[in-house]
């Protein structure tokens, strides 16, 4: 079908206009800024060439932040991609009662603001006097001071983020799994195929389009969502142990006013993301199960 090209552009134009002004222009401007030393207000921007990029590569903090970013990605994938996937599978094919109730209830927190969630969890998880600590004390367990503990802090901030993101991911995955015909599963059950094999060999491949979408969203949006608890709870501390690539750009740009350096860091982050996307695209085009 060869449509009218002009008409096609007309359909895309509204989106394109908004994107041009609020996405592509700012992006180019940020690329431009990344070659300067500037603090947003000085009348003169000092051109430093690749200076910011070189400084960035030489700064040990960059590698700490990238390592943290990677740790966030792994934890978020477990909590917000793998876990809701399994939950959706259990609700669809394993249990028989209460399906609708669970679906509604698990989605509920995802309508609430993450700022609210962060404040709430800061109190609930207070290791000295929060409810969780009181219960743990009852069993003779002392909760470590997670907000000041390397490693652990990333885990807890991820959990706070999960509270918000889980429901949406779960419900979308549930929708994806619904596409798998019930008869196939029933047949496998009659053949006594163990549940984990049904999940891995039948459900996962047959719902992979949805799976890949959630996989990508978990990484990309997850890292941006984590920004809120980082800002509210730890400000990147202790000793940058909870900072990720996105928070670090904010910290450099809006706390230390290294506008040029922050821009360079933002560009590097974006390039890493896009490389990830390219890899994903290759995979998507090859290994995905399409319903049609």
């Amino acid at each position: 079908m060869s449509g009218n090209a002009l008409l096609a552009y007309g359909f895309i134009l509204p989106s394109l206009l908004v994107f041009a002004v609020f996405m592509f222009y700012p992006l180019l401007y940020t690329v431009y800024l990344s070659f300067f030393e500037w603090n947003m207000i000085k009348p003169v921007k000092a051109f430093v060439g690749w200076g910011n990029y070189i400084a960035l590569l030489q700064d040990p903090l960059t590698y700490v932040v990238l390592k943290n970013t990677f740790a966030y990605i792994v934890i978020l994938l477990l909590l917000n991609c793998a876990a809701p996937y399994i939950l959706a599978f259990i609700l669809s094919f394993v249990i028989r009662r209460g399906r609708d109730f669970y679906k509604s209830a698990f989605f509920l927190p995802s309508v609430i603001s993450l700022v609210v969630g962060s404040i709430l969890y800061l109190w609930i998880l207070n290791p000295i006097s929060g409810p969780v600590a009181i219960i743990a004390k009852f069993f003779g367990i002392t909760i470590p001071v997670w907000s000041k503990t390397q490693g652990l802090v990333i885990g807890v901030l991820s959990i706070i983020t999960t509270w918000k993101v889980f429901g949406y991911n779960f419900i979308v995955l549930f929708g994806g799994i619904t596409g798998v015909p019930q008869e196939v599963i029933e047949a496998a059950k009659i053949d006594n195929v163990p549940l984990h094999r049904i999940f891995l060999d039948i459900v996962l491949p047959m719902s992979s389009a949805t799976g890949v979408y959630i996989f990508i969203m978990t990484i990309v949006q997850g890292l941006q969502y984590v920004f809120t608890p980082i800002k509210v709870v730890t400000q990147g501390g202790p000793d940058n142990a909870s900072s990720n690539a996105i928070y670090n750009v904010y910290q450099e740009g809006f706390t230390l006013y290294h506008t040029g350096y922050a821009s360079a860091f933002a560009i590097v982050t974006m390039v890493l993301f896009v490389v990830l996307l390219l890899a994903e695209f290759k995979y998507v085009e090859k290994g995905i199960y399409y319903e049609n």
């Binding site: 079908m1 449509g3 090209a5 096609a8 552009y9 359909f11 895309i12 509204p14 989106s15 908004v18 994107f19 002004v21 996405m23 222009y25 700012p26 992006l27 401007y29 940020t30 259990i90 394993v94 249990i95 609708d100 669970y102 679906k103 509604s104 209830a105 698990f106 989605f107 927190p109 309508v111 609430i112 603001s113 993450l114 700022v115 609210v116 404040i119 709430l120 109190w123 609930i124 006097s129 419900i171 994806g176 619904t178 596409g179 719902s207 949805t210 969203m217 990309v220 920004f227 996105i246 750009v249 821009s263 560009i267 974006m270 896009v274 996307l277 995905i288 199960y289 319903e291 049609n292």
Partner: protein, 273 residues
Amino acid sequence: MRIDREAQWHILLGGALLLSLLPIAFAIANSFKELSEAYNNVFSLIPEHPTIGNYLLVFSRLPLGQITANTFMVALAATVFKTVTSALAAYAFVYFDFRGKNVLYFILISTIFIPFTVTMIPNYLTISQLGFRNNIIGVILPQLSDATGIFLIRQAMRTIPRSLIEAARIEQAGHLKILASIVLPLIRPAVVSTGIMFFINSWNEYVWPVLILKDKVNYTLPLALQLFISSEGGTDFTIAMAVSVITMIIPLVLYLIFQRYIISTFTSSGVKG
């Protein structure tokens, strides 16, 4: 045997559910406590001396009606605009052939990967030059450049057999008409669930409005929460909880009313290949 197993699952699921719902109960309970009770008995879900003082204080300090209306207008405008433009663009990407189609699609979709910190500074300058600072239009505009809608709706459109569209074309139907009367009804779950996601995200948007809005009468709800959280003077926890409840009450109530519809929409949309 089977029942035992099912019961085990229910215990597991119930536990997970409790974890995700308790914080909400906790917020509601503490918003009705006095500060000293919240500090000393943060655990209890039923306040010993229930008080609506926190709410009265918040209502006396903030034009909450206006703030809620602002939030609504921002969320509604962003949702409607984004859903419409996404559907239009997605339609073009699925049913038209034109030069640079794949490249353009790829470029648009790649923007999903751009962290918001990249565009923050230039966007602030743009909004200022347009004169939309301290104005909810300034909050809405940058939100509109979001490609997730194009992606989701395009994926849904691809599941519609092309023969249907071709048949309509032969009958001389215009593209807008095909989009409105054939395509959209077929993929309504995907469109509506995308819209719901837009609405929720926009309702809770926080970093950007903090930068743009100045006067209380222009605030959105997440900003109202900021007003009661101060690091230096300490956060008055019970008041913060009252504002939290006010912030979440509308999405929560809307969700509870329409939950069946929302859930069935989401589960029948999925993301198709």
